[in-house]
Symmetry: C2
């Protein structure tokens, strides 16, 4: 399969790339690195990327920023950062990508455990991740030509504990290598509208 | 209690107003009608409203627009309309409103059954409504001073069947009067982080 991976240089992205590169024709893209540059918050950037890479069998996104901070100090503008980046960025990729996939192709996006396990300072993350999971369920019902759309929802990564561990007190972490297996299940499997929780 | 109701002229809003007006000091606001004008998509408009009405015991929103249309023709720009209006508009009201509520006050927002029952042409609605429900669960955990935040999630209204009925084949509708009872439970009750489903 020809697989486009966005966010290939991130912790999850590296795990996905290691797993999928030996098995597929992997094309990588990212905001600052990868074979192609892309900014998911810009429509022209996403369209230019899809035009450059041509027809695909799978699109995988492990990209997107959120706002973390206390609810009592949160502004609507800050909240909108997560909506525009991790949520609408990935939705934009899916909406544009559906027209570039070969029959039976798949889209796999990334949410996160905060969708179902709210924590302090993470109201934006909970909202955005739950929104992505709901989007997958709804969008999958309308996709034609056997196209599929799933979301992988990992808990905190073992590799990210030094940075994000304080947001997840008592959480059991998972390795990026284990999270990557869920993307493989989505790309090579048959399910659609699924949330693959890795926790 | 002093209760601010946004969207008072809508079908749900009228039901809420009928139920709460005899029981509380009700202040109404809306985009085009009500005692005050407000546009939830504009920060200055929301702040001006809250400044004008003064300290409150409850804020109720039954306002917000979504994009409906086939996924295969949906643009990110169209998708963002629902994010900016029904989702971020109500989140903005909650974020600003938390600082204007008296101790023990409540915020009640509106999602909708599409959050958990996806239907054709409704990917934006499913995403936005699920996002609001997740936001309530997360935000409620951080609110101080006994403040509460809930969401009411109604199925299609009997009064709206002529307009929206085609989106909900086989759905059992509910009257606006019955939906209004859920807002009363949220405003006058003790629960927080709840989704009151009326279906």
């Amino acid at each position: 399969m020809k697989v486009l991976l966005i966010g290939a240089s991130g912790t999850i992205g590296q795990g996905i790339a290691s797993l999928l590169a030996p098995r597929h024709e992997l094309v990588t893209a990212g905001r600052h690195s990868g074979q192609h540059r892309v900014d998911l918050t810009r429509q022209d950037s996403v369209e230019a990327l899809l035009e450059a890479v041509g027809p695909l069998d799978a699109i995988v996104s492990a990209a997107g920023n959120l706002h973390f901070g206390p609810l009592g100090e949160m502004s609507a503008e800050q909240f909108n950062l997560g909506l525009q980046d991790k949520l609408l960025g990935q939705v934009r990729l899916a909406l544009a990508g559906q027209h570039r996939l070969r029959d039976g192709g798949s889209i796999t996006l990334t949410s996160g455990v905060l969708a179902i396990e709210p924590m302090r300072q993470a109201a934006n993350a909970t909202t955005v991740n739950a929104a992505l999971e709901a989007f997958a369920g709804a969008a999958a019902l309308e996709l034609p030509r056997g196209l599929r759309l799933n979301v992988v929802s990992p808990t905190v990564l073992t590799e990210s504990l030094p940075v994000y561990g304080s947001f997840f007190p008592g959480a059991e972490s998972v390795s990026a290598a284990r999270v990557a297996l869920a993307y493989q299940r989505s790309v090579e499997g048959t399910q659609t509208g699924r949330v693959y929780r890795v926790m």
